[in-house]
């Protein structure tokens, strides 16, 4: 059965996927004053990503974080940062120049990053679905 097109897009699966992922990372992150956010923003200079999907993913992720997932991200971040087994790893990270500006020592930033990683398959599925429903004009 042929899939009925609902919208059109010239972006590839990878572009849509990256836009959704980028947007969700920015949305989950509680602060924009960290290095990874800066890297994401600078990367947008060189990458051509569909803004509509990025903004949608950003807004959805921000709202999800604010109303639902913040406590979970905070707890996950605290759990990882308080692990005695990981203490050496975090200390070595702190010793390295620039890396501490990633704010990995903030429970929310770490939790948001981890949640962003865990949502990769989900955004890949969404991107694949969007791509097959949107014919190239």
């Amino acid at each position: 059965m042929a899939i009925k097109p609902r919208y059109s897009s010239r972006s590839s699966f990878f572009q849509i996927f990256l836009a959704l992922l980028w947007g969700s990372w920015l949305g989950f992150s509680p602060t924009w004053l960290s290095l990874q956010v800066l890297i994401l923003l600078v990367a947008l200079i060189f990458l051509r990503l569909p803004w509509i999907w990025m903004m949608t993913s950003f807004v959805v992720s921000w709202a999800m974080g604010a109303f639902l997932l913040d406590p979970l991200m905070d707890q996950v971040g605290k759990l990882l940062l308080r692990q005695p087994a990981l203490d050496h790893f975090w200390t070595e990270m702190a010793k390295a120049p620039v890396l501490p500006w990633l704010h990995f020592n903030n429970s929310m930033v770490l939790g948001a990053f981890l949640l962003g990683v865990l949502t990769i398959p989900f955004w890949a599925y969404v991107a694949w679905n969007l791509r097959r429903r949107a014919p190239v004009n």
């Binding site: 990878f14 509680p30 200079i45 060189f46 913040d70 501490p100 020592n105 429970s107 930033v109």
Partner: protein, 575 residues
């Protein structure tokens, strides 16, 4: 149509835009960012809002310049505690690249100190090394003395529990039970006699002539037996009555116990005033100990904390920052050198301050800190402040010291008692202070010596007698010495205080209250005696009346029996 690729090859326009945005942020936004960040960190240290008028971040150095820092009082957030006109900090790039603040060299100039105000009774979130007083004997005694009805005798309800009343109730019950018993026995004997008399009358005509003599003898014997039983009861009534009378007499022996119980039920201030030195000393020491509290409860935990929860912002949880430490990793904060200098201005607004801080770091187990400060604040009337402090946790030991000497500072509105009936304390005085705080491992010692001169007391009360008592007690004490010493495991130290003020107030209050208690005791004794006498009279009257009534009945019954017996004796056939 050809799909656009992922990589934007013609990115120069965007790159230019990004570079311009970064430049704009560096020139326009970075200072604001540094300002809010520094204000946030300093507010966390101060425990109240710290505002910064202007912050400049210079990449050359790098260097941070902060202007017009205003520190609010943590206990009265609406009040400014002190201000620093300018702070300049030269930072280290390697530490900054690791998001850490290492200050190579720094200066603070033009320090303003506002008038010293006494701290509130509870410091900050309740953490203080001065033990909180749970007993307020001075306030209680003052309230008692200001109460016009303080020596009124308690109402009748209060007397219901005294031993003599309880004993009286017991004796009353015993009398009732005894009287009841006597009446029952008497009624039973009277009934028996009636039945016997009826029976005798019934058998009079039935008896044969030859048995008449024997019959009469039996009747006389029966009547004699009844009479003897009545006599026994009479004897018992008298004996029981005497026992009960003796018991009534013993009520008088309970009089002292009655007085004790009544005095216990009336809440009177204790004459010992065991805690009065601590009550007064704690209030006098609290302003100075506030500095030690800040040092121990605020500065050290702030420096050594490993986690810092952040306030939510823009509707999002900002999480908790974790601070990791290790070899070759600079401390989160390390002020290697800070010179504080301030020249006194003609109007006295700015204090004359010179100070030096070396190696104040968030890791005192790595670097020992030394603080030294000399200051004069003319407008705040604070002269010759000398502060020396050390924080040293190296090699697993704890060796923290704080020494503060102030030649002169004003004391205003120091209240010892503040109740609805009395406000008593020091309205104004000039004080000098020597304070020493030592911490070794988890134990500490505090030695505090304070002298107050030109003391003007405040005694505000509606009770004229109370005002007179305190005015007369305090008038000779125009100069006060107070020594306090605390030792023990932190933060629950054992305090001892000595002060002529507490001794003087203790003596005066003991004299006044002793006199009051003697008069009050005499009145209670009189009332108790009166009540016991009344109770005795009531019980005796009751007992005598009941006993007499029974005895009269017994006598009349005996008389009736006697008459009947004599009739039969006359009727007895002659032998």
């Amino acid at each position: 149509m050809k799909r656009p690729g992922l990589i934007r090859w013609n990115f120069f326009g965007y790159l230019l835009f990004a570079v311009l945005a970064l430049a704009a942020y560096t020139f326009l936004g970075l200072d604001g960012h540094v300002k809010s960040l520094m204000a946030q960190k300093l507010s966390a240290l101060n425990g109240a809002e710290v505002t910064i008028e202007k912050a400049i971040f210079r990449l050359n150095g790098p260097r941070i310049e902060l202007e017009k820092l205003v520190f609010k009082d943590p206990l009265r957030p609406e009040r400014i505690q002190f201000e620093i006109e300018k702070i300049q900090m030269d930072l280290e790039w390697p530490a900054l690249l690791r998001n850490r603040l290492v200050v190579k060299d720094s200066t603070a100039t033009s320090v303003h100190l506002n008038a010293i105000q006494p701290p509130l009774s509870v410091v900050g979130d309740g953490q203080t090394l001065v033990g909180s007083q749970t007993v307020h004997s001075l306030a209680f005694a003052s309230d008692f003395l200001s109460n016009p009805s303080r020596t009124q005798l308690p109402p009748d309800d209060a007397w219901s529990v005294v031993p003599s009343v309880q004993a009286k109730n017991g004796v009353t019950s015993e009398i009732s039970a005894a009287v009841e018993g006597w009446k029952k026995q008497l009624d039973s004997l009277v009934d028996e006699n009636k039945q016997q008399t009826e029976a005798i009358k019934g058998t009079e005509n039935q008896t044969a002539e030859k048995d008449a003599e024997a019959h009469v003898k039996i009747i006389i014997g029966q009547l004699e037996k009844s009479r003897l039983e009545l006599e026994q009861l009479e004897t018992q009534v008298k004996a029981d009555g005497n026992i009960l009378l003796n018991k009534i007499q013993t009520l008088a022996e309970l009089l002292p116990h009655d007085v004790t119980v009544i005095r216990q039920n009336v809440k009177l201030p204790s004459l010992e005033f065991k805690t009065i030195a601590a009550e007064l000393g704690a209030e006098q020491a609290r302003p100075a100990i506030g500095l030690v509290d800040d040092f121990y409860f605020r500065l050290l935990p702030w420096l050594e904390k490993k986690e810092q929860p952040l306030r939510p912002s823009y509707g999002r949880n900002q999480g908790t920052e974790f601070y990791f430490s290790g070899r070759l990793l600079p401390p989160r904060l390390w002020i290697k050198k800070l010179e504080i200098s301030s020249k006194e201005s003609p109007d006295g607004e700015t204090g004359d301050v010179s100070g030096h801080i070396a190696d104040l770091s968030s890791e005192p187990d790595q670097v020992a800190a030394h603080l030294s400060l000399q200051a004069n604040f003319k407008k705040a009337e604070v002269a010759n402040v000398q502060l020396e402090a050390q924080i040293d946790h190296r090699e697993g030991r704890v060796d923290d010291r704080l020494q503060l000497n102030i030649a002169s500072y004003p004391v205003r509105d120091l209240d010892f008692v503040k109740t609805p009936s009395l406000r008593m304390g020091i309205e104004q005085a000039t004080a000098s202070l020597n304070l020493e705080f030592l911490v070794q491992k988890d134990s500490g010692i505090i030695n505090l010596s304070s002298v107050l001169d030109k003391v003007i007391y405040r005694v505000e009360t509606n009770s004229e007698p109370l005002k007179k008592i305190f005015d007369e007690a305090l008038a000779p004490l125009t100069s006060l010495q107070m020594d306090a010493n605390a030792q023990g495991r932190l933060p629950n130290m054992h305090w001892t205080y000595s002060s002529p003020l507490s001794e003087r107030l203790r003596t005066v209050l003991q004299q006044v209250l002793s006199q009051e208690y003697a008069e009050f005791g005499a009145r209670i004794r009189d009332r108790a005696y009166q009540r016991v006498v009344e109770a005795k009279q009531t019980l005796e009257t009751n007992l005598v009346m009941e006993s007499d009534g029974i005895q009269q009945k017994i006598a009349s019954e005996k008389e009736a029996l006697k008459e009947l017996t004599s009739n039969y004796v006359k009727a007895q056939p002659k032998m």
